[in-house]
Amino acid sequence: MSLEEMDTPPSQPFANMPWPDRYQTLTEATNNSLLKAFYQAGCCDANTPLSQVPMVAIDFETTGLSATEHSIISVGLVPFTLEGIQLSAARHWLVKPKLALHQTSVTIHGITHADLEQAPDLVDILPELLECLAGRLPVVHYRDIERPFLDVALRHRLQEGIQFPLLDTMAIEAHLHPDRRPTFWQTWRGKKPLSIRLSDSRLRYGLPHYAAHNALMDAIATAELLQAQIAHHFGAQTPVSDLWL
């Protein structure tokens, strides 16, 4: 089973085009200047070795799991390459959610109503956010959050969504451990399923445990995990299209 087959991306315009061509077409098609600039920065060719791909790890904290029902409350990102992760360019924003904050999410993220009262709307940070993403391949842990949430948030605010390829460190772990769910027999014998959550995956590579969880630390943790995955299982010369989704 290849990575591509595991999930069907949401339907998008020009979905059948290769990514570099799609970016070119979208540059022409979009009416929004921010998105035009984003697509114009281009997308690397499918054959580009990973060592030459500029990347950006992103992580959102959200009020829930559904892009249509829940909101983004914080955004963390850090640009990197296989050479290293540049903390000097790391960014973190709190953003005001459109919908009321659930009490449960508050305790999970450690972000309070008071913090968010002061926060800007996503639209205010969009120029900076898109500039950070432009020309870089986004990397996330679990692809069904950042890309759909950003897409929905932009549709809501700019009347136009966003598309980009990405690397998903969780999908990579899933791919590496196809038999992670024990059989009935194994479950009966007490075998636990192998976790592919971020902190558990990191442990398998000897990466340190981070006490604090915020969008930026999780983005950094994701970038570190990808470096470890590539070093252990793929190699810097792997074409980016082997892994992107």
């Binding site: 000097s88 902190s199 340190p208 604090a212 470096q227 070093a231």
Partner: protein, 661 residues
Amino acid sequence: MAAPSTASRFGAITHDQTVLSAIVLAKHYLIHSGGCMQAELIDIRNHLLQHSPFNEMPEELVNRVTETIEIVYARAGTELLRINDPSKALYYVRSGAVEIFRRSGELYNRIGEGEIFGEFGLLMNKHVRFPATVLEDSLIYRIPAETFHYLFEQDEGFADYVEIEDRSRLRSAVSRREKSNQLMTSRVSRLISRKTVSAPYTVRLQEAARIMTENSVSALLLMEGEGDQARLKGIITDRDLRIRAVTEALPSETPISDIMTEGLITIPASHYIFEAMLTMLHNNVHHLPVMDDHEVRGVIALSDIVKYESQSSLYLVSNIYHQTSVKGLKKISLEVRDSFVRMVNEDANSHMIGSAMAGIGRSFTQRLLELGEEKLGPPPVPYCFMALGSMARDEQLVVTDQDNAMILDDSFVAEEHDAYFLELAKFVSDGLAECSYTYCTGDIMATNERWRQPLRVWKAYFSDWIDNPQARALLNSNIFFDLDGIYGETDFAEQLKTLVAQKASNSQRFLAMMARNALNRTPPLGFFRNFVMEEDGKHGKTFNLKRRGTAPLSDLIRIHALACGSKAQNSFERLDAIGKTRLILDDGIGNLRDALEFIAIVRIRHQALAIEAGREPDNNVRPQDLSPFERNHLKDAFQVLSNAQKFLKYRYNAQIARNVS
């Protein structure tokens, strides 16, 4: 693939309000302190804050470091730094382990979580000096060169940390710290301020005195031959004029050659001032002709060095010679520890400190002998007062007892003369005890009749030790194989050294016995490189840096030196001598030298810290009192010792000796 069941996608997150308030507080702190680090990076910042040298840095400085970090993941086996690559960053191990190598490819250090590497290249020449290879999969923080240099400028603690450690690790020849010890970095030639004043050695006493007065010099060089052919023949000093000429009322027409000192001790112009100081201390001379090959460049006097470095231990020494009573000497002896601490703080190396302390000890002994002779009258027969053990090796520290002996002229008749020498020996020994050089518990002192004997008896002692070696007896007489004449007919001691050098190298049985004894004390290193501790009533678990470090090291160096027929006494000089033969390869010599220097300097610092804290200095160290750096390097040094002991056993068949005895 199923989505995780809660909004917490990333596993066991158990945030609570305390974490929140910590983050909020940190944010406020950053805003108010003007820092611009993302508060969310606090996890990374806090890791730095737990480790040297960042743990002693102002928090806002660590924030600045944090925001410039580049994180790198490297698998085991990755060559992280290659020799001569440009040095672009300081490296901090967040997790994992890295090995640092010497140029020769030999393992130099192992760096673990929270430790840094790569500072040498940044400090020295901007090129990697020690290649680094990842030992375990590691997460590394790269701190860019600009940040490193910024910290170096802004934070003295940081500068000290990366530099001092560098120095003790490497004995790097060039000091880069302005406040570093000038005695160690300035050449002797710097002290020469005037043209050499000399005269033919054929001049008369009065003429010599006139030349010295006219030129206002305290020493006059006496030359043989003319012009380019002139060779240094001797020297005459103010002190000589006073003591030899004036007090003995010599006629002014006396040839100067009658009272000049010949066989001069000189120093090459290229040597460091501290070496001149050591030479003066060791030989008890106050003037040193400075030589360029065979040509005299000038003369430096003790007072020149004291002027240059008024805090030097030479100042203390010159004071010792001004004392006219044991009481006065006792008073001065209180300054010895200050002088020791000062040298440690000035980053002197162990050789320099050991030699200076031994020089001070010699000076006390010499002055006591002078005072003793004044009191008891001139000796009935010539004699030599001999230092043994660490003083003879020029490796004395502050916690030391007296080990000494007397070699008497062969014309010695016990019934007639011994009362005098016993009295003199007692005077010196009691005086030394007053000055904090405690009595030797093994009774190896000139007050013991056995160690107050004519030269021929001493020769018989040494011949017997070497020709009929017995392990137990040698254990006690080990100390006599570090010997040095420090007063009187020092030639007697030289004769003993020569005898030992000639005989020892030919006696395999003797060397085997000595080697066997040297293996009794092993380094405190267990399997897996952990320290093996001993219970110390006062401090809990400790290990003894002398008994299990410097002492077994100097023991094994002594045996190799004896096998080479060397007459050197100092361990470093012995290593030089061993290096000239092919007994041990150059690498091995270098390792032993580094190991000895490192263990000795840790021991010295340990004692200096105790003195500064008002505690009684000792040799027992608790591992938790050492920095991770010191711990690692001590382990390396002990490993060197352990390997060297294995070689010793093999080289001298020490195993077989055990069966024979």
